[in-house]
Each structure stands twice: as structure tokens, then as C-alpha cells.
Symmetry: C2
Subunit: 170 residues, 2 copies
Amino acid sequence: MPSKPAPPITIDAVYAAPGYLFRRMQQIAVSIFMEECKAFDLTPVQYAALIAIHTHPGIDATRLSAVIAFDRSTLGSVIERLQAKDFIERKPAPEDKRIKLLYLTKSGAAILREIIPAVERAQARMLEPLKPADRKALMGLLVQLVDLNNEASRVPLRAEDALEHLGKGG
Amino acid sequence: MPSKPAPPITIDAVYAAPGYLFRRMQQIAVSIFMEECKAFDLTPVQYAALIAIHTHPGIDATRLSAVIAFDRSTLGSVIERLQAKDFIERKPAPEDKRIKLLYLTKSGAAILREIIPAVERAQARMLEPLKPADRKALMGLLVQLVDLNNEASRVPLRAEDALEHLGKGG
DNA sequence: CCTAGATCATCAGTATACTGTCAATCAACA
DNA sequence: TGTTGATTGACAGTATACTGATGATCTAGG
């Protein structure tokens, strides 16, 4: 039985590597998102944050970072920008002076309703080159892989963390 | 025939969106890469740049950005860091004063040989949670999708650009 | 009550990404 | 030959990501 040959040090090996393909696809996805949504001045990250705050009004920044699996440090500046655009507001929590609670403003709720069709178009465009059956297969595999690799990332997704702020007695 | 229902504005819709999954998978891939390669002080981008320079010695920065589909502006600082670590060197092109040609140093060639096993481990770990058949299926679909969406990104891959510096008379 | 450990927000530092601009240089053409 | 247009490298500005540190605050235990 011949042993596996040493991989060649060429750029073609990189083109077929999972890490390269994931990076490339992410670049493409962001590019398509920005193109479809350029009228709204919202990045993909800002959009996800708005959706999460809409789903969990009164969430704090640390829990928000767990709910969308975004880096906590980065999220600070994302929140600042959303606040500067008057899409969200921060209110100090009465029972805990460390925490600032996040809420959508009317502008934030409005832009969320308006941007949805553009976001849907963007998501559809990302997969458009594939046949419908292949789109389903790819999404199914990706959902699995992201879920099974959840702990591998420094900021794992903790969707259930969002519930904590509703009542600590749970 | 009922019209498609309006998508709900909830975080669960985001979890299943292609754009979110690509971003998440990219985060996971970088995290795994950095973990496996932490002994070498090389990022995924720096690794890809080194491989490309190894494959195309004497390439210039603009062509390099086309060959690995990385942003040209960002690549400037990537090159600076690689040069600071003494992994590459830049030589002015005798026939064109605008261009600086990129070459691996001995250190650069050495670290490339040494890091390959760690990179292979990282790439394998990214797909490890899937069954072997599913890994193949996912990679096949991703290669297709990235290729078919190549023009959608601001910096499309132009692998053939690398050949130009070898002889403009082609 | 007071301290030890945990939690929250913030900041400093590094590394990707992308947009847009600029000067130096080159190539092509009138 | 002199000018136009394209190319190259560099830079400024914005936005994500991650690491690590810090101070304010809360909770638990003594």
C-alpha cells in the first residue's frame, strides 16, 4: 500500500482547500449583500444585530454577541454605529448598573421591514448559480457543519443565552 | 395558488441564511487554522500569499492579489508583515520602475515546508464532523459555487494573470 | 459588612477587507 | 515628441474580527 504522497506546494492546492473556499465564498456573499442593500446603508453584521434585537428586545451586548456568534469586542463598535444611525437605543438596566439594554427605535424597526426584500434577493443570488437541488444539499451540509463545529470557534453560538434576561429565576 | 408568505423577521431566519452560514464557517475555519498553526506565526492570508509567491517567484503585488483573489489594498500590509518577518523580499523591477517583484527568502521557503502538515491538519479538521461522502459533496458544490460567482466579488480570481510577468510577448 | 471571584462594558493593539484617491511611471498614439 | 490613458504602489478612511487588559459592578461567602 503506497503512503499518501506529500501534498505539492502550489497555489492550486490552495484553490481546493476548504479554508480558502470558505473565505472566498464569504467575500462573495458580503459583496452581493452590499450590492443589493446599498440603498439602506446596512452591513450584514449590522443587519443581523438588528434582527436579533428585534427578536430579543432588551437584550444586552454580551448576550447579543452569543446569540449571533459575533465577537464581543467588535460588537461594541457595531452597536455604536447602529446607535449613531438612530436604529437602536441603549437604556441602562435599573437593577444592574453594568448593563445597557438594547432596543430598536422606530427608524430601526422601519428599516428592518424595508430591507427584508433586498436581503432575500441577496441570499437568493448567492446560491443562484447552483441547481435548486444542489442549493438544498449545500445548505443542508453547511447547517450541519457549522453546528457540529460550533465549539471550534472562539465565539460559539449560544442562541439560548437570549432567554436569560427575561427572568433569572428560570 | 397562494403567494409566498412574507418571511418572518426573526433570528432563526438568519441562522438558516447562506450569508450567515458562510460567515460563520469562515470564522470557524480561521479559528481552526490559527490553532493548528500557532507555532508558526502565520495567518491564513499570509500563508496563501507565501504559497502564491512560491508558485510564481518574481510576481508583483497587483498580480498576486489577482492570483489569490485578495484585496489589493489589504495585500500591501500583508506584504509588509511578511517582509518584516523576513519571509519574503522585494526587488525593484529593472525594466519598470513602478513594480516591485516578490521573492521568498530562505526563511520563507523553510517555514512553508514546515507548516504544510499543520495546514493539512487544519483543513481536515474543518470538514471532520461530516461523513467522508458529505465532505466530498460539500467541497464539490463549493468549488462550483465559488467559480460561478467569481465575478460577483469585487476582487475576482484571475489565476492566469500570474503568467503575464514571465513574458509580455506571450 | 467586606472581600474574592464573576460579569459587563470599554479600550488598546493587530490583522483582514473594501472604497476611493494620489503621484509616479509606463505605453500608445497623434 | 508631447500628451492621454492605463498601471502600480501607497495611503486615508471605514468596518469586521480577535486577543488581552482594565475598571465598574454584582454576587457569594465568610
